[in-house]
């Protein structure tokens, strides 16, 4: 029962990870840029929602507004920062997105301060019992909402005309240009969709964990997720996100107490700290070394 309880909590968090990671994959597929600023988008989305509810609007409208604002922020980042660096080498582009991360974090620090802020309640308090497992409404709605959003996005990407243009651009931008797709607009669109998804993820995470600058660090979890999922695979990112969420919950709830018991008995180390936070990164190295194409990538995406 305890295991199931952990698994559901893990799935809820994991589906938010999936939402954030989809954005990174989207940008990477479309423009070959690895966006380290995704964490900043996650954080900013949550702060926007908070700021708008402070203006007196209802939570639902606040979320919609913040998503629109995030879409604009994403497109603006692409136009102002990434567009001038279109053909720069990978290392320079990675660094410039880190610059964006640092800058946006500092903006949030200046506007909202370093302290944790009580996030407005988007969902009612309380919990329900399903098959003997207690889930708070928070986790239930955040989890199901983000998994629905992730699946809806996958459907959008697969079945609509815009999704098709996105896929063309990602597949071969030169050929896409030749058949009349405005590829740079598509790249801007990918950035705004990605930032909007990240912002939504941030809002949901803030309802679960509270609002602070630390949300931008949680955004980094997107990287283990996308490596595990195969870097270019959107469904892979979803599955890997869920997997990591559950794995983290198990590590926190089962492995850590066992390991600490063992270590206390035999060594002078009495705590293993936040093992669940470092685990995804250990997994990242392992996956890169053993199966660099990720669990859902294909051989073609391997670059050795």
């Amino acid at each position: 029962m305890y295991t199931l309880q952990l698994a559901t909590a893990g799935l809820a968090i994991g589906s938010v990870y999936a939402l954030i990671a989809i954005g990174v994959v989207l940008i990477y597929k479309c423009s070959g840029v690895v966006n380290f600023a995704q964490g900043a988008f996650v954080m900013l989305g949550a702060y926007f929602t908070y700021a708008i509810t402070r203006l007196g609007l209802t939570p639902v409208i606040a979320v919609v507004f913040s998503t629109v604002l995030m879409a604009i922020a994403g497109a603006a980042t692409e136009r102002l920062v990434l567009r001038p660096m279109l053909k720069a080498p990978v290392v320079a582009i990675m660094m410039v997105t880190l610059g964006v991360l640092i800058f946006l974090r500092a903006v949030a620090l200046a506007v909202w301060g370093p302290d944790q802020i009580a996030f407005p309640k988007l969902f009612p308090d309380g919990a329900i019992e399903i098959f003997g497992i207690f889930i708070t409404y928070n986790y239930l709605t955040a989890g199901s909402l983000s998994i629905c959003l992730a699946l809806a996005f996958l459907a959008f990407y697969r079945f609509t005309a815009i999704g098709l243009m996105q896929r063309c651009t990602a597949d071969n931008s030169r050929a896409a240009l030749a058949i009349g797709i405005h590829t740079s607009n598509q790249i801007s669109l990918a950035w705004s969709m990605s930032a909007a998804l990240a912002g939504l993820g941030g809002t949901l995470l803030a309802t679960l964990n509270g609002l602070s600058l630390g949300l931008s660090d949680i955004g980094l979890i997107a990287f283990p997720v996308i490596v595990l999922g195969g870097l270019t695979s959107l469904p892979g990112a979803v599955v890997a996100g869920l997997l990591l969420g559950v794995l983290q919950a198990f590590t926190d709830g089962l492995v850590t107490p066992m390991l600490e018991g063992f270590l206390r008995a035999y060594t002078t180390i009495y705590s293993v700290g936040a093992l669940q936070q470092v685990l995804p990164y250990a997994l990242l190295i392992l996956v890169l070394l053993v199966r660099p194409q990720g669990i859902f990538g294909w051989r073609g995406s391997e670059r050795l």
Binding site: G32, V34, V81, P84, M85, L86, K87, A88, P89, V90, V91, A92, M94, M95, V96, L98, G99, V100, L101, I102, F103, L104, R105, A106, V107, L109, A110, L220, F223, P224, V227, T268, I269, Y270, S271, V272, G273, A274, L275, Q277, V278, Y281, A282, L284, I285, L288, L289, P292, R303, L304
Partner: protein, 344 residues
Amino acid sequence: MSGTRLWISLLVAAAACILTLMLGRFGNYLMHAVVIASISALALNLLTGFCGQISFAQAALLGVGAYTAGNLGNAGWGILSIPLAGMASAAAGALIGLPALRLRGLYFAMATLAAQFIFDYAFKILDPLTHGVSGLVIKPLTLLGYVVQSDRAYAVIAIICLFVTWLTMVFIGETTLGRAFLVVRANEIVAKGMGIDVARTKLWAFAISGFFAGVAGALLAFTTRLASPEAFGLSLSIDYVAMIIVGGLGSLPGSLLGAAFVTLLPELIQRVGEALNIADILSAAREMAFGLLIIVFLIFEPRGLSALLHRLTSRDHANIAPKTPRPTSERRRSELGLKFEKVE
């Protein structure tokens, strides 16, 4: 290395020593902050600028150096603990570099990012060696039986270490190994074709770079007297990558310029902020300026400060604008001197 260059470096080092003896407490603090950052930036430049391996784990290597030096220093090893800290970091560097034998560019950068987090975590939980989150308190350095107390003495020791690092970097640039680094950076397949053992070359780059990062970490440990996990986090690693990019990848004087710039800029903003009475958003302003600086530099002067200075001081105005502009893609790539395979 030519005689003239040796003499110039020696003169500069001597001048820096004399300068630091004349400076006050704050001046000394700035001096050794810049000098230690320079050592570490030179080390990272060897890895990224020369050998083309981008690393976000530099702070982890500094941390390994700091904890090693701290433990050895507390156990009474004296000045020997500095080179030994270098050795420990060299080993850690080679360990971090192992995935580089299989991975390239972006993938490797992610692996170093993960390594940074794992080391960070290790610093927190290896209580017997690191004293966990509270940090390891370090006794002052003992040098030939004397306990070094003054800031000036530490600054002079740091300058001597920087001088040795500088000479080593210049020397390496002129050896076969240094040339091999450049070939590996340009194209690994060509390097193999030329008979270069790519794996061994990369591991050397990691070990040498790690050694000097460890020395920098040791100096940092003895001057701050405390090694704690949050001092060696990802943000410090990002600072170092920023230094070598702002200074100019692959340029030795550039690394020094970048280190000085990135270290002194926050101090400058601090002064200005105190003057303008905006103390409450000061740390935010500092970070904002830092982020903007990175963005602006990469967009407008991807070759960094060293190229900018060269252009400003050069009397040959013809090279301000190339007569026949090459396509942007080609220019940008060669300006950074780095060619990673574009990942599809």
